[in-house]
Each structure stands twice: as C-alpha cells, then as structure tokens.
C-alpha cells in the first residue's frame, strides 16, 4: 500500500490493521490525518446565531396558531349561519296572522249545493221595473224584453241545472262545484260561490247584459 491508499483508509475510517503503525512512520500521512481532524473540529465548531433559532421557533408557533385559528372561526361561523337560517324560517312560517300556503283538499263527497232564496225586495223591484218597461216600451221592444226573460244563465257550468220560472223570475243552481245562482232572469243574476273555506263566500252580481255589477 502506498500513501494514497493509506489516506483513503484514514478518510474512510477504516479499521484496517496497521494504520497506527503507518502513521508513526509516515510524515505525509500524519499530516493528512491531522488535517482531517482539524477539518472535523472546524465543522463541529460552526455556530449559528441565536437569533436564527429564535426566528425558527417563532415561525413554527405562528404557523401552528394560524392553522388552528381558521378552523375555530370557520366552525363557529357555520354554526351561527345555520342558527340564523333556522330562526328566519321559524319566524316567517309561524308568524301570527300569516296563513301559510295550504293545499285545498279534494272533497270526497259531492259539494253541498245551497239554493239561495230569492230576495223579496228584488222581486218587488223587478215587478215594478217590468211594469214600467211594459208601459214605456213599444211592441217590438216589449217583445225583445220578453225574449230576454228566456235568456240562459251564463256561468259555464252545465253539470245539472234545475230551476223554474215564477212570475218572470228564475232561480237556478248548479251542483258539482258549490255554485249557487239566484236572481231575476231579466234584471240581475246573483252567483254565490262556496269555497272550501266556510268563511269565504264569493257573491257575483251580473246584470242582464252579462256585466258585473
């Protein structure tokens, strides 16, 4: 082995026998070994400024706290938002005086048909008008007016009709939709519509031309 081989053994921390003996007898390899040791000591002696450690620790703790913080606020923000939504829904649905949307039930039985009694005053007035008309009108006009008494009631519902004429006055009612019609055929028609809500009754007054009164 020459010195280059021994240097490799020394640098490689070889446990080869004879290194110590060679070092005792070889000035060059002794220098080499001493320099290796000096380099090692110099490497170990390298120091880091304390501020660098402090900076690292601060950065680590800041990072940990930053990772914790958003989770905390995010969770509470979600809980708060959910609570607000629930409160809003409860307030608007259960608010007093506000009836929520309701689906009308389809009646199993046929709706009750009420036959509205003819208003007495209407009859009286009708007679009076007829008399006046018959007096005022000429023959053709009187005939037209008489034809008008045979005018069919408009209402669109033709399920079953019943009614009759009594002194020029007819009372008609339809079954099947809760609609009652009453009134004079010549002067006005009263349409009473019963709805699913017993408190709500729609009354529709129509004159002989079909216009709403």
């Amino acid at each position: 082995m020459n010195c280059a081989d021994w240097e490799r053994e020394i640098a490689g921390e070889s446990s080869a026998a004879g290194i110590a003996e060679h070092l005792q007898g070889c000035e060059r390899c002794r220098e080499f070994a001493a320099e290796m040791e000096a380099n090692r000591v110099a490497l170990q002696g390298l120091t880091v400024h304390p501020a660098a450690f402090e900076a690292v620790r601060r950065r680590v703790l800041d990072e940990i706290q930053a990772e914790k913080r958003p989770v905390f606020w995010w969770r509470w923000a979600v809980v708060a938002a959910a609570a607000v939504v629930v409160l809003c829904v409860v307030y608007f649905v259960k608010r007093p005086g506000v009836v929520g949307p309701r689906i009308a039930e389809v009646p199993n039985k046929a709706p009750v048909i009420s036959q509205a009694p003819p208003p007495a005053r209407e009859l009286v007035r009708h007679r009076r008008v007829r008399r006046r008309l018959s007096v005022a009108m000429s023959g053709d006009a009187a005939r037209k007016s008489a034809c008008a008494t045979g005018m069919s009631t408009s209402g669109g519902n033709s399920n079953s009709t019943s009614g009759g004429h009594s002194n020029g006055t007819s009372y008609t009612s339809w079954s099947g939709s809760g609609i009652g019609v009453s009134g004079s055929m010549c002067e006005q028609l009263t349409v009473k519509m019963l709805t699913s809500d017993p408190d709500v009754i729609i009354i529709w007054l129509v004159d002989q031309k079909g216009d709403s009164l």
């Binding site: 240097e7 490799r8 640098a11 490689g12 921390e13 070889s14 080499f32 320099e35 290796m36 000096a38 380099n39 090692r40 110099a42 490497l43 170990q44 002696g45 390298l46 880091v48 660098a52 450690f53 900076a55 690292v56 620790r57 950065r59 680590v60 703790l61 990072e63 940990i64 706290q65």
Partner: protein, 189 residues
C-alpha cells in the same frame, strides 16, 4: 445521574404536555432540538434562509406527529431523519428552480492573508465552503457523521443506506474537502 434522570422526566413531561396541545411545552421541545435541526439543515443546504425553512418544516412535522412518537428518546433520531428528508426535498426543488449554480468560491479570488494564526479561524469558513462543493448525499453523510457526531450505523439508519455506503460517502467527502482547503491554503501561503 440524578440530574440526567430528572432531565429525562422533564422532557417526557414536556412531550406529554405538547401532545395535549400545550404550545409552551412544544416551544421547550424545540429549544431542546433546535441546534440539531437548524445546524444540520444549515450545513446540508448551505444557506441560512433555506435552512430556516427546512427547520420550520421539520418542527411542524414533529408537531403533527407527536402522538406517533412513543418516547422522548425517539425524537432525536426521528428529527434527524425528517430534517434530512426535508433537506433532500429542498435540494431537489432548488435544483429544479436554480438560477445560479451552487459552487464554492474561487480560492484565487480571496485576498491572501500572511497571518498563520488566521488559519484555524479561516478553516471553519473554509470547510463550510467546502461543504457546498460536495454532492448532496455526501454532504448529508459527512454532516451527520462529523458535525453531529453520530456513528456510522446511525448515519446509515437515518439515510436509509448501508454502513459501507456511508463509509464510502464520508471518505469521498473528506477527500474533496481536504483538496478544497489545500488548494485555498496553498494559494494563500
């Protein structure tokens, strides 16, 4: 001996508190290992900025894995492994994004200093420069062996290689460093 036992008990207590989320306890743990982590990272990576980033990442990994470490005695070797891995990652990233090559200073450009007394002080700076000229794996091996004073077996365990490989890397690294210092010192003298 009693002090050592007290210190070990204190460290174990510190680990338990850190596991429970006590940041002050974790700060104490960092103080115990900061020289090891930052010193290793600095010598492997060669500059303070990257070393601080690597040390930060290593400690964050420690914080996240505290519950996996059964014993306070495990932390030291675990931290070495993590630090070296983080440095490897940083080295790969730096190599990809590198804008200027990593090389040691040109010895001829340094002003000669006739004072021989300077040599010992300068040697520290020289070996630090010499470290930057080594291959990454050689640098890691020589830092763990010569700076941190670990045995060849421990170094092999941390680097995940065989002892023979570590010896070879250390031999190569020391030879290169010596050549570097020789070249510089010869120019000076």
């Amino acid at each position: 001996m009693a002090d050592l036992r007290l210190s070990a008990e204190g460290s174990a207590n510190c680990l338990d508190r850190a596991r429970a989320g006590d940041l002050q306890a974790f700060d104490e743990l960092m103080r115990l290992h900061e020289k090891q982590v930052l010193g290793t990272a600095l010598r492997i990576l060669g500059n303070m900025e990257d070393a601080q980033d690597a040390a930060q990442e290593s400690f964050l990994r420690l914080f996240k894995n505290l519950h996996k470490l059964p014993d306070i005695l495990e932390i030291k070797s675990w931290l070495y492994r993590v630090t070296v891995n983080v440095c490897n990652d940083a080295h790969r990233k730096r190599r990809r994004n590198r804008t200027e090559p990593l090389r040691g200073p040109d010895p001829a450009s340094v002003t000669p200093d006739p004072e021989l007394a300077w040599l010992n002080q300068e040697r520290g700076r020289l070996v630090e420069m010499a470290l930057t000229t080594l291959a990454h794996k050689e640098r890691a091996a020589v830092v763990l062996r010569d700076v941190e004073g670990l045995s060849t077996r421990e170094v092999a365990g941390i680097l995940g290689t065989s002892e023979v490989t570590v010896r070879s890397q250390i031999c190569e690294a020391r030879g290169k460093m010596k050549k570097f210092t020789d070249r510089y010192l010869r120019k000076r003298l």
